[in-house]
C-alpha cells in the first residue's frame, strides 16, 4: 500500500496536466478525523472519528477554484463520575457529551501547479457553522445550538488517479466565532477522500 502511494505521489509528478485546473468543476467526498481545540477541546478531549465533508469546486481560472463546502462532524465523550459546582449548587453524575458541528461555507482554493498530477493547494472558506452541544446527565439534557459566523483555512493535495478522478488529502481548521452562550468553537480536521471531475 505504501508503495502504491509512493508511486502515485512521487512517480507521476512530471509533465502530466492537472485535470481539475482544466475541467469545469469537481465534487469531492471525504472521510474526516477531527480534533477539538479551545473550548471544544476542553469540552470533549477525544478525537472524532465520525466526520464527512463534501466539497464542490468550479475552476474560475487555471489556478483558482471556487465553490461550496458542507460537512458534518460528531464529537462524543463519556465523562467519568464527577461533581460539577456552580455557585452554591453542585451536581454529581456521569456526563455524556455530544457535539455536532455542521459547517456550510463558500470557499476558494488556489492550486499551486496546474500541470502536475499531484497538485497541492491552499484554500479559504467563509460562512456559517451550526453547533449542537448536548450534555446528558441522568435523565436530563442541556442543549446549546447556536449558529456561528465561521472561517476555514485549508491546505491539501489533489493526486490524479485516472482521467477525472483524484485522491484528495487535506487539513482544515474550522473556527466558529462566539455565538449565543457558546464561546468560539474550533477544530482541526484531517480529510481523506476522492474528487470526481465533470
Amino acid at each position: 500500500m505504501k508503495r502504491i502511494f509512493a508511486f502515485i505521489i512521487f512517480g507521476s509528478l512530471f509533465f502530466v496536466p492537472g485535470v481539475f485546473a482544466q475541467q469545469g468543476g469537481h465534487l469531492s467526498v471525504q472521510y474526516d478525523i477531527s480534533f477539538g481545540m479551545g473550548d471544544l477541546g476542553d469540552y470533549i478531549s477525544k478525537a472524532s472519528f465520525r466526520g464527512i465533508s463534501v466539497q464542490y469546486r468550479y475552476a474560475a481560472t487555471e489556478n483558482i477554484l471556487v465553490g461550496v463546502d458542507a460537512a458534518w462532524y460528531v464529537f462524543y465523550e463519556k465523562r467519568d463520575y464527577d461533581t460539577y459546582t456552580v455557585g452554591t449548587q453542585s451536581i454529581s453524575g456521569i456526563q455524556y457529551r455530544t457535539q455536532n458541528e455542521m459547517p456550510i461555507l463558500v470557499a476558494v482554493d488556489y492550486l499551486i501547479f496546474t500541470d502536475k498530477v499531484v497538485n497541492p493547494y491552499i484554500g479559504f472558506g467563509i460562512g456559517t457553522l451550526y453547533t449542537e452541544r448536548a450534555t446528558d446527565m441522568g435523565i436530563w439534557r442541556i442543549v446549546q445550538d447556536p449558529w456561528h459566523f465561521a472561517i476555514k483555512p485549508e491546505a491539501g493535495i489533489l493526486a490524479e488517479i485516472s482521467g477525472n478522478t483524484s485522491a484528495k488529502i487535506a487539513v482544515k481548521y474550522y473556527n466558529g466565532f462566539k455565538s449565543g452562550d457558546l464561546d468560539s468553537q474550533g477544530f482541526m480536521a484531517v480529510s481523506l477522500g476522492f474528487a470526481f471531475g465533470f
Binding site: R50, S90, G93, I94, W140
Partner: protein, 190 residues
C-alpha cells in the same frame, strides 16, 4: 458505503447500567451559618410523596426495612460531620425531612419506520410503539426554624435521582446519600 459504515460502526456507547443514570444535586443557603449549629431532629419515617398528599389524605411511607436503612445512612453521615441527633424538635437547631417520590414517564410514538420508505409514512392503522421509564427521587431538606418557630426555611437540600430498575437497590441509594453529604463540605461542624 465505506463512509456510512465508518459512521455507524463508531456510534458511541450510552449508559450501560441503571446507576450510570444516577445524579445527586445539592444546594444551600450561603448566608446560613452551619458552623454555629450542632443538633438536628429527623422523623422516623420517610414520606412518599403522591398525588393525594395535598388533598389531606394520610401520607404513605417507605416500607421497612428500606426506611430504617436509609435513615441510618443519613444519620451516620451526619454523625461523621459532627451533628448530634436529638428527639425534641424544639431543642434541635435544624430538622431534616427526607422524602421520596416515584414518577413514571410514558412515551409513545409512531412512524418510526419512516426512514425506511416514504410509502409507509402517515398511515392511520398502525399500532403506536410505547416506551416508558420510571424514576425515583430521594430528597433530604435541612430546615431551620425562623424566629419563634415561625416561617421555617430550607437551608440545605440534597436530591438523588435515578432510573429505577424494578428492584430495591440499597447500594445505589446509600451511594447517593453518601455523595450528597460528600459534596456538601460546608455541613461539617466538627
Amino acid at each position: 458505503m465505506i463512509i456510512i459504515f465508518l459512521m455507524v460502526s463508531c456510534y458511541p456507547d450510552g449508559p450501560e447500567s441503571y446507576d450510570d443514570m444516577d445524579v445527586v444535586y445539592t444546594n444551600y443557603d450561603d448566608e446560613f451559618n452551619f458552623a454555629s449549629q450542632g443538633t438536628y431532629v429527623i422523623p422516623d419515617k420517610i414520606v412518599k410523596i403522591t398525588g393525594t398528599l395535598d388533598q389531606g389524605e394520610d401520607p404513605e411511607f417507605v416500607k421497612e426495612p428500606y426506611n430504617t436503612q436509609m435513615l441510618d445512612r443519613i444519620e451516620s453521615n451526619l454523625a461523621a460531620l459532627g451533628w448530634t441527633k436529638v428527639d425534641d424538635p424544639e431543642t434541635a437547631d435544624l430538622a431534616l425531612f427526607p422524602a421520596v417520590w416515584i414518577n413514571t414517564n410514558v412515551y409513545y410514538y409512531y412512524d418510526y419506520w419512516c426512514w425506511y420508505y416514504y410509502y409507509y409514512c402517515g398511515w392511520g392503522y398502525y399500532y403506536p410503539a410505547v416506551t416508558s421509564y420510571t424514576t425515583g427521587t430521594f430528597v433530604m431538606a435541612f430546615v431551620a426554624a425562623g424566629e419563634e418557630y415561625v416561617d421555617p426555611y430550607t437551608v440545605w437540600v440534597g436530591i438523588a435521582n435515578g432510573v429505577l430498575s424494578g428492584a430495591y437497590d440499597y447500594g445505589r441509594i446509600s451511594k447517593s446519600i453518601d455523595q450528597a453529604f460528600k459534596q456538601s463540605p460546608y455541613l461539617k461542624i466538627k
